[in-house]
Amino acid sequence: MRPHFLSLALLLAACTETNPRPPPTDRFVFPSGLVHRVSPGSTNGVLYVASANFDRCYDQGTLMAVDLDQVRGGEGGLPALGAPVAPVSTAPLKLEQLNVPESARVLIQSYAGEMTLWNRPDGVPRLFVPARADGDFVHYIDVLEPTRLACVGASEDSRDCLKGALSLTDVPWRRQTGDNEETQDLPRAPAPFGVDVSPEGDVWVTHVDPADAPARSNANFISFLVKLDGRNPGISTDSFLPLTSAAGQAVGGSHSVDITERYAVVSGRFSNRVANLTNRRFLLRLLDTQNGNQMIDPGLDLAFAARDARGFALTPASSTRPRRLYLAVRSPDSLVVVDAQGLETDTPSLRLVDSVPMPDGPTQVTLVSRGLARSELVVVSCSAAGVVAIYDPDVGQVVAQVAVSEVAQEQVSQPFALAVQQQGNAARLFVSNFGDGRVAVIDIPDLGSPQLARLVAHLGTRQDVQGSSTCQEVQQ
């Protein structure tokens, strides 16, 4: 809702050296996408962190595999998950030594968005990361070992995953002569952002900016959901599935995607470049993967008149409780609760049942399972407020708002992506603090009392300390 990201970029865009500017190897730079993975033999697992390099101080962004057993600070490493948390007034641990070896780092394009992991049944796990700087790439990165990464499509010894990445805008069919102007330069997907992968390996990618035709004409806007083969990187016009199917449907960007048994569920973002002629807004749409990729708009905007949407999470299908979709929306800042039925049928039903006020800038949503007796906790990163809100459906309210920075200025930290580690009746949340360059660690020692959630640590070094330049590598 507020252009903090843009402001930061403008403020910090004074880095104009022409010499190579490799990104730091020991810290994150505008961390965005996160994935947590349990690793055999590891206590805390591995956290994969994409750095977006949003101020372009470096030539590229990075993806790091952080062995959470190895992170260190003055007081040691991460506390045991499930241990009683300290009072709110206790400062979180500063775990600034990430100890990431070279094999656990690869280069990616700047402006990385979400990230997802495919646990391949017939190969090593594979990460997918869209990035919306020049070229609008989707990266394929293999996890050869928990902290050994390899770029798919690049030479074996290359650490630059841009070389094998797929561009969603620099496509062979662009600028073909004789095209109808209304379809020239289409399909393409500027600013790829959200990503999900099906168990079979279909990779689905959203893009924030709708595509115009011809490019840069500000006319004939359309947006797509991009479907890629997770095994073999490749792209064709068939990879682009339109997110509008009827006249009058709002055109906008798209944010997050989730693949269900049958439908790809996509959240929409408002685009001020597109003049929608109706009062309709693109909040949520479904793409029927089993029926010719038919697009269904469930009309959520007719029930909840928000301006645009961000991330969402869908509870698993269950025979004992209603299935729910939790969607973060802006204007007003809210968590929208949607009852989801029939997601395996021709006629899915998505019905608004509640909305919850959220702190400023709700962005990403994830769930923490609590077994059959309790509803999943719904965790929402609120970028502008600098907090993570925890909504308990059994209470019907936000039960905790955890500030992700010890700094008073709320807008500095800008929490974005969320990853969850669960162990017994406890959970640990990892939150990428896009604004201050760290990953916040929040522990919920007892899932029955989520109000006890506390910020326990920060991973990495602050990038926003006054007087220091984010363009300088911080050596430790």
Partner: protein, 677 residues
């Protein structure tokens, strides 16, 4: 006549909208996060002089409240100014205030009397800000349960630490001596707790001559619940509270009598309740010559039903507003039909009141309110909805205000094919006399000729196996004479296979096997290419009925009648107590004479309820109103002789003042609305 009234209403609305310039908003106060509002009554200074009321609004993202001064002079109405009058006054409170409540009491006449304090809380926080709300103070004077508050003094809030769990509900009763009793519920690790805090009058609190006292109430709440709403009732020592529990359970509503802590259940039709409200004493007449009657203060307790949870997988849950009689705890009876022995009593339980697809975002009750079109009403309910509409209902009669004066539902039939659509009358005949007011909805029934049968659009062609009875209770769907159509992902086989027999499943199997005598054409015989099939209706019942809300309602053929029944969504005048009625009834002609349908063509039976709830809409095409799309909570205020609704709009980070006598229902209003940002 009815059409004339409707047309007149639309024209008047359009003219009113067209004749007004865009609202001129005052300088902004910089609100951000306007989630809640609370009205604090001005003090009575003398018999003839009374201070203007103050309207508090959250500015959650800025950790503050702002105060709108409801002066009688509309031109000077605006935010209370700061010591530097160029700025609007900011009342700093706890971080991210999202909910407000004020203390109030009822006098001997049953009228509401304002108190001394306003209370603010934030979801997920144990803290409560206590703001002295009269003009002499307008600042936070006490912070509960927040050890981080820096200190105490005349200008700093005092502290009291009682509970540590997040506050889930609060309400306050003002006392005649200016003190206040705050009740709140928290969710502790050990479960839900109720607390009572006595706050001295502001002057005594600030000067330290009296201390704040509080503690836990001994109340035996049901296990494993939280308290989601609290309400101070006019009856001395009485509160109402709503609970909710873990997934699969349904919360309850109780009255709580203090100091004993006795709980008495109220039954909101088995629904869980999100928010509670009640009213002061209401005087009313049920006719021009009828005697003046009185509805005592607190006689009814209104609840906003929770559409998200009503126990287990039972769904959909009712949505809307329902009232119970406080004396009996049962659902209140509406005035659709009155008891002949006591015409002040209704005969039948009211229905939940709601409109459209939106869910209620707030509720307020207002007495003696002048509305456009209807005139003055003794008690109305105002419910902002998440779809942007503001629903107003008759809270005395407990019914919707139907601004469509035609009571008789209607229906039309059209035939649709790729060429276009045409109205018809003979091939499908609707029994309009059977349509039931209050049951027939605005609905479109589609009869698709040779339509695809439900759950049979994309079956795998490994034997012709399909769901036998896809919808429990509606019997088998597929019949001999239907068509099997082989398909690939992009094309279909040109030759249909006619279903010869349907072999029902043997329990516990649920799939039927279809057989066909039609030879499979060679060009479609490769099942590695034609991997799937679908089934279309044929035989004696080639028309598949669906609607905008139901995937499959049935199938019919020439000569067949079809009737759909449904529950009442509205009690019309002289309602007789039936729970169900005919929503639509039509008959297919034994032979089509008007049109010749082909595969995929459809007959559309469109029913009109002729019911139009009293909903207020804002014209968001006006630039100053463009963000006033989604309302939050609402209060009603009488300023001079004018009834206003003040509605928080979190979508606009602003407040909207709505003159209830001017705004016209069901049209886009730009007149009678004024934004405060």
């Amino acid at each position: 006549m009815k059409r004339f009234v409707m047309s007149l209403m639309v024209v008047v609305g359009a003219l009113l909208s067209a004749c007004t310039e865009e609202p001129d908003s005052l300088p902004t106060a910089g609100l951000s996060g306007t989630f809640d509002v609370a009205l604090v009554a001005g003090r009575q200074l003398s018999e003839s002089q009374r201070e203007a009321d103050l309207l508090f609004v959250t500015s959650a993202d800025r950790n503050e409240l702002r105060v709108l001064d409801l002066t009688a002079d509309a031109v000077s109405r605006g935010y209370v100014r700061a010591p530097n009058p160029l700025e609007a006054l900011s009342v700093p409170v706890l971080p991210r205030p999202q909910a407000l409540t004020r203390d109030m009491r009822y006098n001997a006449e049953g009228s509401e009397v304002g108190g001394s304090y306003l209370f603010a809380r934030s979801n997920g926080s144990a803290a409560i800000s206590v703001v002295a709300s009269n003009r002499d103070f307008l600042r936070e004077v006490l912070r509960l349960n927040d050890p981080s508050v820096p200190g105490e003094g005349r200008q700093l809030p005092r502290q009291l630490l009682l509970s540590t769990g997040p506050v889930t509900a609060f309400a306050a009763r003002g006392n005649e001596d200016g003190s206040s009793t705050l009740y709140y519920a928290s969710r502790e690790v050990t479960g839900a707790r109720l607390w009572e805090v006595r706050v001295p009058a502001p002057q005594a609190l600030v000067e330290g001559t009296e201390t704040v006292q509080g503690g836990a109430l001994v109340v035996a709440l049901p296990p494993d619940v939280v308290v989601s709403s609290l309400l101070v009732l006019p009856q001395s020592g009485q509160l109402a509270l709503a609970t909710r529990g873990a997934v699969g359970t349904t919360g309850q509503v109780f009255t709580l009598t203090l100091p004993g802590g006795t709980l008495t259940a109220l039954n909101f039709g088995g629904s869980q309740v999100l928010q509670l409200a009640t009213h002061g004493r209401v005087s009313y007449q049920l006719g021009t010559d009828a005697p003046i009657q009185t509805l005592p203060a607190g006689a009814r307790i209104f609840g906003v039903l929770d559409p998200a949870s009503c126990g287990g997988v039972r769904f959909p849950c009712p949505s809307g507003v329902l009232a119970v009689e406080a004396a009996t705890g049962t659902v209140a009876r509406d005035f659709s039909a009155r008891d002949p022995l006591d015409t002040t009593r209704g005969l039948y339980e009211m229905l939940p009141i709601t409109a459209g697809l939106g869910v209620p975002m707030g509720l307020t009750l207002a007495s003696n309110t002048e509305l456009a079109l209807t005139g003055r009403l003794a008690l109305v309910g105002i419910v902002p909805l998440s779809n942007g509409e503001i629903l107003v209902f008759d809270a005395l009669g407990l019914r919707q205000l139907d601004v469509d004066t035609d009571d008789v539902p209607s229906a039309t039939v059209t035939f649709v094919n790729p060429v276009g659509s045409v109205g018809i009358a003979g091939d499908i005949t609707v029994d309009t006399a059977a349509l039931t007011s209050g049951v027939t909805t605005n609905e479109r029934y589609q009869l698709t000729y040779q339509g695809i049968l439900p759950r049979m659009s994309n079956e795998t062609a490994k034997g012709f196996v399909v769901p036998y009875a896809p919808f429990p209770g509606r019997g088998p769907v597929v019949q001999p004479g239907d068509f099997i159509v082989l398909r690939t992902a992009t094309e279909v086989c040109a030759t249909d296979l006619v279903v010869a027999t349907v072999q029902p499943p043997v329990s516990p199997a649920t799939q039927a096997v279809l057989t066909t005598n039609t030879p499979i054409p060679p060009e479609c015989a490769d099942f590695s290419i034609f991997t799937n099939f679908l089934v279309r209706a044929g035989g004696s019942q080639p028309l598949v009925i669906s609607s905008s809300t139901a995937e499959y309602l049935g199938r019919v053929g020439p000569g067949d009648p079809y009737t759909a029944t449904g529950p009442y969504f509205f009690h019309p005048d002289n309602y007789t107590g039936a729970t169900q009625g005919v929503a639509v009834r039509f008959t297919v002609a034994s032979r089509f004479t008007e049109v010749t349908p082909e595969r995929g063509n459809a007959f559309l039976v469109t029913t009109q309820s002729q019911f139009l709830p009293y909903t207020l809409l804002v014209d968001t095409s006006i630039p100053d109103l463009s963000f006033f799309t989604l309302p939050g909570s609402v209060v009603e205020a009488k300023v001079g002789i004018t009834n206003y609704a003040y509605i928080a709009y979190p979508s606009a980070d602003g407040l909207l003042q709505m003159d209830l006598d001017v705004v016209v229902p069901t049209v886009l209003n730009s007149r009678g609305v004024f934004p405060f940002l």
